[in-house]
């Protein structure tokens, strides 16, 4: 029976004994119907790896549903809430597998402020534009160096490189929520510093776009 109301799900799952066991069995079947949507395009649906992952995620989801049952506020169907937990568990594991061999970008900095840096030659830009681009590049980089910590720079580099936040967080010894907060703080700092220097992100980009016009 998987056509329970929210209240019936809560009551059955909290009941213990056979009643709870039956509810868990029904919920497991519902979760298994949703998981292929999380796996689609990420794993071969017929592979043994997919079968094992599906079992693992279903089990983890049931445990988390019981653990967090008291936090369900009834603002959605209970099954949507359970699917949400399953999707998070599945994608977290899939990201870990997909990115486990990819190193985080190295952003260990030293104090050698390379004064010899010049913008790389752009054969379309005239000399004046090249100077503008080089100066803007150095200016933005100086702001990044002065405003962000090593960890923030490393995280920022990972995100612009397309690294999943979850996986970057795991490598940096934190969690996704904390890393999002840290990156929000970093973005605010950079944005405000640009503003203090009379710049907007659009103006920074426009300097680089001028050469293409």
């Amino acid at each position: 029976m998987d056509k329970r109301t929210n209240e019936e799900w809560i009551a059955d799952l909290g009941a213990g004994g056979d009643r709870q066991a039956l509810a868990l069995e029904d919920l497991r079947a519902i979760i298994l119907r949703g998981l292929p949507y999380a796996i689609a395009g990420r794993l071969d649906p017929k592979s043994p790896e997919t079968e094992a992952l599906t079992e693992e995620v279903a089990q983890e989801t049931l445990l988390n549903v019981l653990k967090y049952l008291d936090t369900f506020e009834g603002r959605s169907q209970f099954t949507t809430w359970a699917h949400k937990i399953a999707v998070r568990a599945a994608l977290t594991e899939l990201r870990r597998r997909r990115w486990s061999e990819v190193p985080l970008p190295d952003m260990t900095m030293d104090d050698d402020m390379d004064a010899s840096y010049r913008e790389l030659p752009d054969h379309q830009a005239n000399p004046e534009e090249q100077v503008s681009r080089a100066e803007m590049m150095k200016r933005v980089n100086r702001i990044i160096m002065e405003e962000l910590t090593d960890k923030q720079r490393k995280a920022m580099m990972s995100i612009v490189d397309g690294f999943p936040l979850e996986e970057a967080a795991r490598r940096l010894g934190t969690n996704r929520n904390a890393l999002y907060k840290m990156m929000h703080d970093a973005r605010l700092r950079l944005k405000k510093r640009l503003e203090n220097e009379g710049l907007t992100p659009q103006e920074v980009l426009s300097v680089f776009e001028q050469a293409g016009k």
Binding site: D114, Y117, K138, N141, N177, K191, L205, G212
Partner: protein
Amino acid sequence: MKMKQFIQKIFGSKSQKPPSGDIPAKPSRKMQTMMEMLSNTREEELTCDEVFALLDQFTELAAQGEDVAHLMPLVQHHLDMCDDCRDEYKVLERIVANVT
């Protein structure tokens, strides 16, 4: 890492530039991404956990055709900023449409 290496990592290196001068010069993808991130940054943003707590409700409202960007703008903004949460929303959206 030297400053020059750092700059090249953030904003692209010589090898990432178009090989021919006939192709218009464009800011590197990383530069573009970073500046777009800064441009879209708001003082108040929800975290991943806060969005996760609301994601089931948000997804059902969207599936019912509600204007979720207007009803829950902070959730929408976070989904625009966070690839991980957006991926999860897209999967949940398909499940709600096809399974529940």
